[in-house]
């Protein structure tokens, strides 16, 4: 019952935010000095051709009607036509989405593992706490592209352990249902190829994931330290629970919720960062597609990316909210 109401309110809030996002992007499009009609038919098209294209795009209709048409298009994932590729943006994005999904999952994996390790060490280890806190402070200032370049120089050029670009060696591309090479190769029981694809993931995932690990570690440290001083923890100790059980069952469990919040926020950070990171690795994903679209002023493609990331971000944060409601009975509806 409580969960049902929670889901309903969060869903309602999500719809409002997605509509606002659509309106914002629509407004940005209107602000643009580039005429979408000219961008499609070319600068030297005849007046009649321009008028016909304008009518076809519905640009001669009132503002509000145009917006409603835009939203109706979004409901069917119609994101317009890319100026650069002359294909629907939807088709382009769906082609490159699996590569980014794979990298994002790997980045989150690095972030969570790293964050839990760093957070626990800084909260519980007397000896290493200061060192880890130094890492927290310094690495918050190091941009992902620096880590990417250092990783390339060290692991790829000096040691020769890891490939420097691409998603697989040989460029065979994805072979299976998901489009993510690691998963597809595993599904086809092709362990060698899966290992190769995993090696391609290492540097980009580390470069992007370290910032997530640092942010997560800082929050986790705060939660673990304040959690360890709560009265219920004292009670648990007083009733004779082992220290390990106290930490795991009482302290850690209560720090999961804030950690989830951070992860939800960082989904947007990772996806926005993909525009910076993916081109450095020639990664055939959404970020690289958007980077190329930026170089050729392809606004429909960039708007498509904005909608895609915005919706993903909003959905992930809603999922986090609901998950928090499931694990923490205090999370309710204000």
């Amino acid at each position: 019952m409580r969960i049902g109401r929670l889901v309903a309110t969060r869903l309602g809030g999500m719809i409002v935010v997605v509509l606002a996002l659509a309106f914002t992007v629509f407004l940005f499009q209107k602000l643009s000095p580039v005429d979408p009609v000219r961008a499609i038919v070319g600068a030297d098209a005849s007046r009649a051709a321009v008028a016909a294209e304008r009518a076809r795009l519905g640009l001669n209709r009132p503002f509000l009607v145009q917006f409603l048409n835009y939203v109706r298009g979004l409901l069917t994932f119609n994101l317009g036509t890319s100026y650069r590729t002359q294909q629907p943006v939807r088709t382009n994005l769906f082609q490159v989405l699996p590569a980014t999904a794979e990298l994002t999952i790997a980045t989150l994996f690095v972030g969570v593992i790293g964050g839990v390790i760093l957070g626990s060490i800084s909260a519980f280890s007397r000896r290493w706490s200061k060192v880890v806190r130094g890492i927290f402070f310094t690495f918050a200032a190091v941009p992902s592209f620096i880590l990417a370049m250092l990783g390339l120089l060290f692991f790829s050029r000096s040691l020769g352990w890891l490939p420097s670009s691409g998603i697989t060696s040989g460029g065979g591309g994805a072979t299976g249902p998901t489009g993510m090479p690691v998963l597809d190769d595993l599904l086809h029981a092709n362990v060698g190829a899966a290992w190769n694809a995993t090696l391609h993931l290492v540097i980009p995932a580390l470069a992007g994931g370290l910032a997530v690990a640092v942010a997560l570690g800082r929050v986790l440290r705060g939660e673990l330290m304040s959690g360890a001083q709560q009265e219920y923890v004292r009670t648990a100790r007083a009733k004779g629970l082992e220290e390990r059980a106290v930490i795991l069952r009482h302290v850690v469990r209560n720090s999961i919720s804030p950690v989830l919040s951070v992860l939800g926020l960082y989904i947007g950070f990772i996806l926005a960062g993909s525009v910076v990171l993916e081109p450095l690795f020639d990664w055939p994903g959404v970020g690289n597609y958007t980077y190329q679209s930026i170089q050729s002023a392809d606004f429909p493609a960039i708007a498509g990316f904005t909608i895609l990331v915005g919706v993903t971000y909003v959905v992930c944060n809603m999922a986090v909210d609901i998950a928090q409601g499931l694990i923490d009975p205090r999370v309710g509806i204000q």
């Binding site: 592209f145 930026i294 002023a297 971000y313």
Partner: protein
Amino acid sequence: MAVADPWILEAAKRPATLTPPRLSKRLTSGRFIVVALGVVSLVVLLLPLLAPYSPTDPVGAGLLPPLSHGHLLGTDDIGRDLLSRILYGIRSSWFGTIAVLASALVIGTFIGVIAGLAGGVLDAALMRFSEIFLAMPAQVLAICLVAALGPSYIHVLIAVAVVWWPAYARLIRTGVRSVKVRPHVEAARLADISSARLAARHILPGVLGPPLVLASVDIGTVLLVLSGLSLIGLGAPAPAPELGAMVSEGFPFLLQAWWVPLIPGFAITVIVLIGMVLGDIMRGRIST
């Protein structure tokens, strides 16, 4: 690019504190922040005087390594002096960041004061509006806005300021609501002064502390966002000495001449670190 420090998000969501720090204390921290920023800005403003060469013209052989004769940090692929370009780049990044934060502060103050003083429907509407902004990924919106307006440094600054103000508006509004019920405001109201004067003279001085601290904590983050946007090709066009653009232009030479992309990258890291240290000092001053 990085998102806001979780502390900031907490600060933005936090309800009105019942007992805000004493007024005198806030004013001194505010003054401290302004002085500290002024000193750093002055140093940054004068940095290009140290530049030995033009930041945009080729002045030597291409791809000279660091510590070459006459080129302390080496040269890039077409023979421009990296040190000179970086010194100019630091200046543009730093003042861009200050401009973005000042704009966010001004917009946030304006909206926050209106919401806090008006209350009721207007307050609710403005706060829902800022909430919606906070619920969308700011950097992606900034990318989209710059792409719509066309790449230029001014557009980058406008775009980041446009997505950056909501946290400030919420902080100001919270402060206004806690200050406006205090006796001195009541006394001023009884003296029948105008709302604008009430806001400017009797309320604002007491609420600007926390947003100023937030702004100083944000310096590092905004520097990162600006350099990220410049790196993906949304900043000033080609010859301009921008740190982010220097990284992406130099990247193809990473394996043969690591210094070309990496040194500008380190410059970004160093100024972000300086910004973060400044923010940390100021946060410490206001919270203790």
